[in-house]
Symmetry: C2
Subunit: 203 residues, 2 copies
């Protein structure tokens, strides 16, 4: 085993973000403490304060990084289905659901009010905004193809996003009734919901 350096970490800031994500996956939101993160990164419990103002600030960094990955994953899907807008919309929604389920505690950190003053973290706001712009692009393509109703793209995009986001939230909270979950698999439920706002292509 290589001896752990107890000093001069090199890139402690990113090591702390990484450790945070790992603890989140292992111990959940309630198990995420600054002291545990520091320990996992191999530094004393006070060391993080050299890089983050407080716990909120670390959480903001974890969330921002999460948004970057979300954007990346959704982007791949957007490119993949460029020629088929309605399919593109469904696959983007599905990618979003998978991202949430893949690491649900990180998703909760990003979207469940753990971060209290989002406005104080410009990178977080910027990443969030960038992801929404991506959804808007997909919505516009669907409107042009006649697959979504016309109307302000911002607002139609908001509707679609709200719908899928709400679905995931309720799912993660265990609030979706048994009877609904038994009728379709997850993918089927996502498609059913989007069909509610989509214009049937058969006429």
């Amino acid at each position: 085993m290589p001896k752990k350096k107890t000093y001069h970490h090199g890139d402690l800031k990113n090591a702390l973000i990484k450790a945070g994500v790992e603890i989140l996956a292992k111990d959940g939101v309630s198990g995420l403490s600054l002291r545990k993160v520091a320990a996992r990164a191999g530094v004393s419990h006070a060391a993080p304060y050299a890089h983050f103002a407080d716990k909120q600030s670390l959480i903001a960094a974890i969330s921002t990084e999460g948004f970057r990955q979300l954007y990346e994953q959704v982007s791949v899907v957007v490119d993949e289905y460029k020629t088929n807008p309605s399919r593109q919309l469904i696959e983007v929604a599905w990618a979003y659901v998978q991202f949430a389920l893949d690491d649900s505690d990180r998703f909760k950190v990003m979207f469940s009010g753990i971060l209290e003053k989002e406005k104080d973290y410009p990178d977080f706001v910027a990443e969030s905004h960038r992801s929404f712009q991506l959804v808007k692009t997909v919505v516009e393509a669907n409107q042009a193809a006649g697959a979504l109703r016309s109307g302000p793209p911002d607002l139609v995009a908001l509707s679609a996003w709200s719908m899928i986001h709400g679905f995931i939230m309720l799912l993660l909270e265990g609030q979706i009734s048994h009877t609904a979950l038994e009728q379709r698999d997850l993918r089927g439920l996502v498609e059913f919901q989007l069909e509610q706002i989509m214009i049937r292509n058969g006429g």
Copy 2:
């Protein structure tokens, strides 16, 4: 001032729930501690354990009580607009939004994963289920009136609920873009979203 009895509270259990709701409104989710709740109810920090197994259990009780109030408030609206299904749907959604904004930290407690093992609290599950049934009733009336698409009422109700719930979540998180919020007021945004799943009555 009447002397506070330091012993034999009478109904400490409900006093603790009430104190919890008050602290939630005052200090937010992160400010809700069992010790504060106990202090506000005028008992020692160990007293709550005579009535609740742990903090989670108190949170479950607060959430369950919240669901009861939500059901009550929505019920009033359901009765009020019985003769006009599409209006009924909009007003129910609006009542839900108002409930969330009226006491947003309690809403977060109810829906943001603070309660970790919902299944362990049967009353909580029952109240949640009961509220969903109410939404289903409204959806069925709308389907019968031709205002919502046909399909399994469970799933259509889930779509409507997901949409409004997601909207509130994004709103409470400050994730809704400025451009969207500038185009309509809150009520207008709720209506716009429901219009996305509703069948235009003009044909």
